[in-house]
Symmetry: D2
Subunit: 138 residues, 4 copies
């Protein structure tokens, strides 16, 4: 399964060149992950932050075509890796049939003190549902 997150490009996202300012894309990715955890994994960011956190440890993105104010994107998320304490995710953002960006991130489940924690069993099972058949380069 793929988690699909609709994302309108709003005025606030765009720069003087009329295209999305790239740090805003990372906010969108973060919003997409927050929605994925809350809506699909039954493990909201609010709950996670009561006990610790799930910071992004690494992320990369390739912006293949610019997005403009008024565009409607679909960010599509798949899970590529379920480690002991970490989760690997991949994202494609499309507008119509054009790819706007592809991204890949690794999140780590941590305690309040920042120590990696084993992903809860229920969370692992839920993540398996969104496992992509990506042959990871890691």
């Amino acid at each position: 399964m793929t988690f699909v997150f609709p994302q309108d490009i709003l005025f606030k996202h765009c720069d003087p060149a009329g295209i999305v300012f790239f740090p805003r894309y990372f906010e969108m990715i973060n919003d997409c992950v927050e929605a994925f955890f809350g809506q699909e994994l039954g493990c909201s960011f609010v709950d996670i932050h009561k006990f610790g956190g799930i910071p992004t440890a690494e992320i990369s993105a390739k912006f293949s075509a610019p997005s403009r104010h008024g565009d409607r994107l679909e960010i599509r998320l798949k899970c590529t890796k379920i480690g002991n304490a970490s989760v690997g995710l991949v994202f494609d953002a499309i507008c119509g049939d054009e790819l706007r960006f592809a991204a890949k991130s690794a999140l780590v489940f941590v305690s309040k003190e920042g120590k990696p924690q084993r992903l809860p069993t229920a969370l692992r099972a839920a993540l398996e549902t969104f496992r992509g058949d990506v042959v990871s380069d890691e």
Copy 2:
């Protein structure tokens, strides 16, 4: 040579977990690049945007240790690649002697219409000064 950009971690950069919200790191990287072009390359972002732009085409970052409100970072930039229309940059952010993140980006010099443009000769020469001895993986 290395361009060094001081960056205080302010209240606005931090999230409920008390650490920098990672999209804010990308704003810092963008600010660092804007300062580099304006202060060191004699080619300000203001001037560039009169004729076109220099969007980030790809970027990756690994956040090796969290940064907290009040930390003073130093973002260190080197140029690793000078292509026809593109520039490869690498960044290390340190606080004291701790690495907080390492990042790598590719920028593309474009016209108003988004077409790649050859980097001006003076800009290429200025970039050479900041050329790092990184053995690129590209």
Copy 3:
């Protein structure tokens, strides 16, 4: 009529004190206005920016109770003034039955050169529908 804009408080909105960082409220207000123009007035921000703009000329807000990650707000917008080139708006944001903030803004319809322009007739008529019975203090 009142325009109602649902707004979830996300991780990105919150600061190290665990509450919404107040500049983020102004982004929410801007998003609310953008949705209002596009969804209700038949005059999207995208269209407006083809011919000029509609910058916020003044704004004030009183934050009466903090909002936290996971809260679901409703931002309620009414139009209080329809000037020659300007629009007066008021906003109430509630969570359950608690008021989180009340705000008031004035927008000005301008040309590309920044000159105030008379609000188009269709826009004036649409705005009238959302006219509040607020006794303005202006």
Copy 4:
């Protein structure tokens, strides 16, 4: 005395109309206040957030002229009110001799639980130094 905070208008601050996106002005104001407390009052935001916070309870701004990428602003802060737990501040932002915005805010000193706390004596004394002769409209 007046606290003067230099603020360059960077690429990230500007919108597709080429002018500062107004919520970014509120970030600048927050940065100005953070610098004022840390540099002039001997009471950094980092220290304040160990024991509580100093949220903005209300704020208003009038944007009298647009600011553009590359502009160098000076935000000038004065203290207009020192209440039991609250502080009133006013701000003028100028570029050359043009006023870009004038703003007014009220901050409240609170405990971790959000209860208003009496401003410490040393902080009151330091604030007095920046007291403006503004005849407040409150």
